[in-house]
Amino acid sequence: MASTENPAGRRSLLPKFVLAPSVLMVLVGVYGFMLFSVILSFTSSKMFPRFAFSGLDQYERLFSNPRWSVAVQNIFIFASLYIVLATALGLLLAILIDQKIRAESVFRTVFLYPMALSFIVTGVIWQWLLNPGLGIERVMQSWGWESFSFKWLVEPDMAIYTVVIAGVWQVTGFVMAMFLAGLRGINGEILSAARMDGAPTRKIYTRIIIPALRPVFLTAFVIESHLAIKSYDLVVALTKGGPGYATELPSTFMYTTTFTRNEMGLGAASAVVMLIALAIIIVPYLYSELRNERRG
């Protein structure tokens, strides 16, 4: 990556002036606000910010709160299944689509369109499909499978898996597109050479192609975990966090705690925990991306 180092450029203030509004927005809107939330999490604020320092009280309350424990347990279930299923399905679809098939663009479009939808729309659709009375359950029964029962949406132990189903349906096409781009970028010569040597197809995939997709796996993982931790709308539209608080996630916990229960300090503490969790994944990734770029 070559840089344009010219004396005129370094002296001119105009470029920095142009950049200034955005820098200001990010400085205040991202970093300033982050700091504000961190500070609030150390106070006893309820409905309004009160800067009465209360140490780690809010964090103690957070970690002893049963709703929060459920939320944390759920995010682990949801995120791990979401990441594993979306990655596996996305990779499978990409490999299949890459077999010089007919109507490739039709298939791609079909797998990708859910990505264009709002999570609210996705939630509304799946709430309809998974509806115990009129949904898929009824379809199966009307097709002759009389005893078919599918009530996950209203079963506290199973409801979180409906969020996984809807979430995976929405994101898989995007993951497929990433893998497809990766597959198309693999050096064809290496593959021809392997084929010349008589390597079987399965070996070519497990030994050459999948290892070559390592960067895509990493990018997919980062994007998926980012989406999982941020997931809010989908749960609101699909289960409203219920039945009871069985599908509570950290994001929904933060919202209701802060804006419905007026426990601002506690809400801020939960947001800080979410930020830390995400930073642990994102920061090393961004760091390595920027470093590779500079070297490359």
Partner: protein, 300 residues
């Protein structure tokens, strides 16, 4: 910005002799079954929106409508109840347009300028600045909800469309800067140098040299911002007032407003109206979007 082509060389048409036909059959069989699974929700949504409630209660959600009726669509658009206001989604649809258009234009323009400065007018610490902006793309927005609510109140923009535009610009500019910066890095510096030799200044270089080659990334940034802002729920639910709520918030309220019987056909029509703009954009411009996005996002 390597390998922009949609069909690069890679030829993993990995055929294995005798088993070829069976393997081929399996590929299509799996793809077709998966495609059916992926389409099923959309098909069911469309069918349901065209049925009467009687037909829905008596039938199967995958069965095509026997008596097609647009009643549910009219109702969702103009007369369905959202909380206490029974005038459908139409006002909220306009709210979303009034929000999306300025927010997309401003954030894309700023992103283009930022990308230009960060690649062609480099200065000490620009990488650090860019890294700091990129982190802004990924923060969980819960961390900024409380301070943003107070700030909007303090500057008199609470509950207004203008306030929501500002919010989407602040958190959108991180992404648009990322897109343009990664795109402009690949534009040869020689072009810029040559223009400078000819006496072109900051703005001339931007408008005459860079902007004319930028359309692939402009498409990516516009689609990304459009879908992101149109589909947003969290900011809309947190910062919009009753009169400025975007359509996603209205859809959620519509579905949760119970006036006795649950009208699934109206819910589905409302969901389709909400989804229509982004689906259309995706169908017509999706190709360009993916091409540009993948070129930028998946390097190496």
């Amino acid at each position: 910005m390597s390998a922009v082509a949609e069909h690069t060389v890679a030829e993993p048409r990995l055929r294995s002799g005798a088993a070829f036909d069976i393997a081929r059959f399996a590929v299509y069989a799996i793809l077709i079954v998966m495609a059916a699974v992926f389409l099923m929700p959309l098909v069911s949504m469309a069918f349901t929106s065209l049925k009467s409630m009687d037909e829905i209660r008596g039938g199967n959600l995958l069965a095509p409508p026997m008596a097609v009726t647009l009643d549910a669509w009219y109702s969702a658009w103009g007369s369905a109840c959202i909380s206490v206001d029974c005038s459908g989604l139409k006002g909220y649809f306009y709210n979303s347009i009034k929000l999306v258009v300025p927010a997309v234009l401003i954030s894309v323009m700023l992103g283009a300028l930022n990308g230009y400065v960060l690649t062609k007018w480099r200065f000490r610490g620009d990488d650090l600045l860019f890294g700091a902006m990129m982190f802004g793309c990924f923060i969980p927005f819960q961390i900024v909800l409380i301070p943003m609510a107070f700030t909007l109140g303090k500057i008199g923009l609470a509950g207004s469309t203008a306030g929501l535009v500002l919010v989407h610009v602040v958190y959108g500019v991180c992404f648009t800067t990322l897109f343009f910066r990664n795109f402009y890095v690949a534009v040869p510096d020689e072009l810029v140098k040559a223009a400078r030799m000819d006496g072109a200044g900051f703005w001339q270089i931007f408008f005459r040299v860079l902007l004319p080659v930028s359309w692939p990334i402009v498409v990516v940034a516009v689609i990304w911002q459009f879908t992101g802002i149109w589909n947003d729920f969290l900011f809309g639910a947190s910062f919009a007032g009753g009169q400025s709520q975007p359509i996603t918030v209205a859809l959620n309220n519509l579905v949760n407003t119970s006036t006795g019987v649950k009208l699934y056909n109206v819910d589905m029509a409302a969901a389709m109206i909400t989804a229509a703009p982004t689906i259309l954009i995706y169908l017509f411009l999706g190709r360009f979007f993916l091409r540009g996005l993948m070129a930028g996002a998946v390097k190496g």
